[in-house]
Subunit: 345 residues, 2 copies
Amino acid sequence: MKDFRAPTLEDVARAAGVSRATVSRVINGVRNVDVDLQEAVRRAVAETGYAPNRAARSLVTRRAGSIALVVSGAGDGDGSWGFSSSVFADPFFGRVTAGVVEFLRPLGMYPLLMLADTDEVRAEVVAHLRHGAADGALLVSTHAEDPLPEMCVRADVPAVLFARPATPIPISYVDLAHADGARLAAEHLLARGCQRLATITGPLDVPASQDRLAGFRDAAARHGRPYVPIVEGNFQRDGGESAMERLLAEHPKVDGVFAANDLMAQGALHVLHRHGRRVPDEVAVVGFDDGPQALACQPPLTTVRQPVEDMAAEMARVLLAHIDKPGADPTSVIFDPTLVVRASA
Amino acid sequence: MKDFRAPTLEDVARAAGVSRATVSRVINGVRNVDVDLQEAVRRAVAETGYAPNRAARSLVTRRAGSIALVVSGAGDGDGSWGFSSSVFADPFFGRVTAGVVEFLRPLGMYPLLMLADTDEVRAEVVAHLRHGAADGALLVSTHAEDPLPEMCVRADVPAVLFARPATPIPISYVDLAHADGARLAAEHLLARGCQRLATITGPLDVPASQDRLAGFRDAAARHGRPYVPIVEGNFQRDGGESAMERLLAEHPKVDGVFAANDLMAQGALHVLHRHGRRVPDEVAVVGFDDGPQALACQPPLTTVRQPVEDMAAEMARVLLAHIDKPGADPTSVIFDPTLVVRASA
DNA sequence: GTGAAAGCGCTAACAT
DNA sequence: ATGTTAGCGCTTTCAC
């Protein structure tokens, strides 16, 4: 049992022969402290093994010193573990988490994980946030019309979104140049000689889906293809499968497919395989995201890479800046996608 | 700007016409308080919109009021986002997270997410824990010889493991009756008429892998099959693929395969498909876990269900109990697996 | 540049 | 059963 009281500022002060105030100044990096004393304090800190008491600090600074990573979306209402399991098992969310955790680590911070899957829970989450459970929130929505961002704005809770909100609100976000990514995909397909392009889109109420579709169409049009068949998917594997089935039925001669994410591309690949179409020879397929599944595809998926981890880290950076400077205006940071060529196209 | 100071105990006390102490008692559910006063206090709390200040409470109780969910394992050392992304994208870890988050939610708690992928970071994590970043930790290891559990024990940090540690140490854990699960798989395969069984195991330095293998062999032996070919896998899809290739090469007449997790089963299914073996008619396949991939398999995977979310929730329950009663002895809780029959066997 | 002292909001003795 | 009071460890004016 280590019932030995942890060293406090007072202990360090005594060991260094100065006052609490001076130790506090040194620890918090306030200038106006004699260099010799700084050194003495540092030594005393090392000797005593002092570590600041977060609660005491929070009490006076009125800051929790931590941030929340909250996933917001609509549960599928099946009452079981369905939604939460699938969202946390989503590789996309896993990459966001990884980016946040690794960015925070050097700062000695750890994110609080929150799940807001119903309106009731969302209200609770915002209340907890307002009452200081964390100093701000990183918001990842699974659906287009998520009310949480707006709730945060209204509650004056610092927040940063992953992806531009469907409805404009004054909030910071980090996003990808989706249209550019889709252009990359189209140009690659065209460059390898595909004549009949088609695309499986994401849910069209999501801005990212719209942008990817627009970019793809735009690039196709520039290359003399004014018409591109589209089928709307759901960003899930099964949606990719049914979309590909429809595409094959309605446009049997398609030879180049752009799926708006890797999961749907994987589903499309399955279907193509079942139909005996050789990939990439008969039909070339390009995905989007470059998540872990891209390598699990058969053949390995050519895809548009979205630097999710870096984007997540940037979200955290922006959030910390906002917490640091409460008045500041919302910012947006847009990342550039890159094409990762593998075997499927 | 809401610069209005949040209501404090003092405010509530004044509104209710009692003292701070009484309000505190009511809020913390201490008996010995007159029922009428309790009611008055509750009304005052509602009126004022009071919410306890966590920092102030932590300062005096010396409790953070939160717990950590830490993933520990060895990074793959490629210096990039590799390890953290893949571990957080692992559906298994996603299910654990979901179970923990949902269990904690009604308690108004949110887990702190930590990643400990090197010895240096593990030391930091334990230090933070010891200094009160959280009151205890839920440990999920990705490898057999993870030093973190022992470090927690030594640092006197309350902790609960997912899965029995490879080396016995005095720590609580939650686990599955792996052998029973493997028996379920073997018996199902046998019952459907399979004559030549084989198994793809997990890494054999992991207790769970050993137990599943033992259970499978045991059940086979009971049914007159003293010899079962085994190939060691790595719990990843690619490991399942190469294992299946070897099995097919060395035991071409195999007609019933038990893969020690769903990911490897998925890989095995791929290989079987490539070799033109019909599943389940020519070769039946049973997996383990019943994770989200089980349904993504072709055909849908018959598998042994591990109630990961419930197990994770139980971990949290046990941890909170330990935090509540610091002296208590370690506990273990073992869950029972069930067989989920789908199309692959 | 440095120290003394006043709290931050809460819980838990201790009185009553 | 309820109120009074003494801190918990820290930051931050305010004097010097």
